[in-house]
């Protein structure tokens, strides 16, 4: 067990544990935000695990999650728009905090990788993850008006 895996364990245990509590209880607006946060926490954890196991190919999992995680949140934002329009989530504090965590993890892992194409790949994953989660958060708080049924 090295520092990378320890950091991933803490992020998973504390972060995803909290996200699970959020997704299981409370009003819908809290649940969708918690679902978005779970993606934003697990993707950096996967990067840390890939670094901890020294398996660069595991980075592909983080890449796929950074692409499809926000898409999953967009699905909820789109198809639950009616319910969310009555009671839109306002969770910019959490969103930016988790985005900051992702940025820190991507920065540290990139620094450990050193300047190479692999580092650019990590930075691309970070940009996709943070951009995706911020846009998904935006979509949840009124990105779809919820009046149409298209």
């Amino acid at each position: 067990m090295n520092g990378w895996i320890l950091a991933a364990t803490v992020a998973l245990g504390a972060g995803v544990g909290t996200a699970l509590w959020g997704v299981a209880t409370g009003p819908l607006r809290r649940r969708v935000v918690a679902q978005n946060m779970s993606t934003a926490l697990v993707c950096p954890a996967l990067l840390l695990l890939s670094q901890g196991y020294t398996r660069p190919s595991y980075v592909d999992l983080a890449l796929v999650l950074a692409l499809l995680g926000p898409v999953g949140t967009l699905v909820f934002a789109r198809l639950l728009a009616d319910e969310l329009a009555d009671d839109p989530p306002r969770a910019w504090g959490v969103t930016w905090a988790v985005a900051g965590f992702g940025a820190v993890v991507v920065g540290v892992v990139s620094a450990a990788t050193g300047p190479s194409r692999a580092m650019v790949k990590l930075l691309v994953i970070g940009a996709l993850l943070i951009g995706g989660n911020v846009v998904a958060s935006r979509a949840l708080s009124g990105g779809f008006r919820g009046v149409g049924r298209g």
Partner: protein, 245 residues
């Protein structure tokens, strides 16, 4: 059957299943041990055929026939969905109304669509080298197209997604897998045997003999199947309405 008897039946059945599972669990090899008789042999065979990802070698070389079965299951499942979710005589199609979408969300969808599609193709193409393969990449590529539904509306998606073409592509990909198998048979060995092509240089795109070809066939099959499946679900959820409404 009364409620009491039913509960007893469930309790007895569940208890017996739990006992069997525990008994089986106690007989398993210890967790995280050093002895892996199957793994050692699979890795040896994979390295002999220059396939860097042993899982791809197991799926598309050592047990390619099992994968044919899995592919057939998916094909049959999608076929069943297409038949079940078709438009019946007492239903009609309503034009979906455009949905007002916030501009950042729309821009995000338009940028991520090609990136996700490229990532899906990357995962398919590198199935024999890194984690992933036809199934995973195919699902990612198919999901990427539906960003157009999420970022715009269903009509926009329908205009770049002719379902008929994807149905043909699905069938073609299944036949491509079978043809590769039969080519092995004609080439002098067995059905789906990986003896036809040179094994190439280890850890490059052309390594692994027929593994990349079968991977590509599965990738196309899964991508087309998921697109057709989602098309039926979207048709039902967005367009098709019952008469008399």
């Amino acid at each position: 059957m009364s409620r009491r008897v039913r509960l007893w039946l469930v309790a007895v059945g569940g208890g017996a299943l739990a006992a069997l599972l525990v008994a089986a669990c106690l007989d398993l090899p210890a967790f995280g041990g050093a002895r892996h008789p199957y793994g050692d042999r699979a890795v040896r065979e994979a390295l002999a055929r220059h396939t860097a990802n042993t899982v791809a070698s197991v799926n598309f070389d050592q047990r390619a026939f099992d994968t044919l079965g899995e592919m057939t299951i998916l094909f049959a499942a999608v076929l069943g969905c297409v038949v079940l979710l078709r438009q019946t005589r007492d239903e009609h199609r309503a034009r979906p109304e455009p949905e007002p979408v916030a501009l950042p969300v729309r821009r995000y969808a338009l940028v991520v669509l090609p990136v996700a599609l490229l990532t899906g193709l990357y995962v398919v193409a590198h199935g024999q080298l890194s984690p992933g393969g036809g199934f995973q990449g195919g699902v990612v590529a198919a999901t990427s197209l539906h960003l157009l539904y999420l970022g715009a509306d269903y009509r926009a998606l329908e205009r770049i997604r002719p379902v008929g073409l994807y149905e043909v592509g699905d069938a073609l990909a299944v036949s491509a897998y079978l043809v590769t198998g039969i080519a092995g048979l004609i080439g002098g060995s067995a059905f789906l045997a990986n003896t036809l092509l040179p094994y190439g240089t280890f850890n490059t795109l052309s390594s692994g003999g027929t593994v990349p070809l079968l991977n590509a066939a599965i990738g196309m099959e899964v991508a087309c199947a998921v697109v057709v499946l989602l098309a039926r679900f979207l048709d039902q959820a967005v367009e098709i309405e019952e008469e008399g409404k």
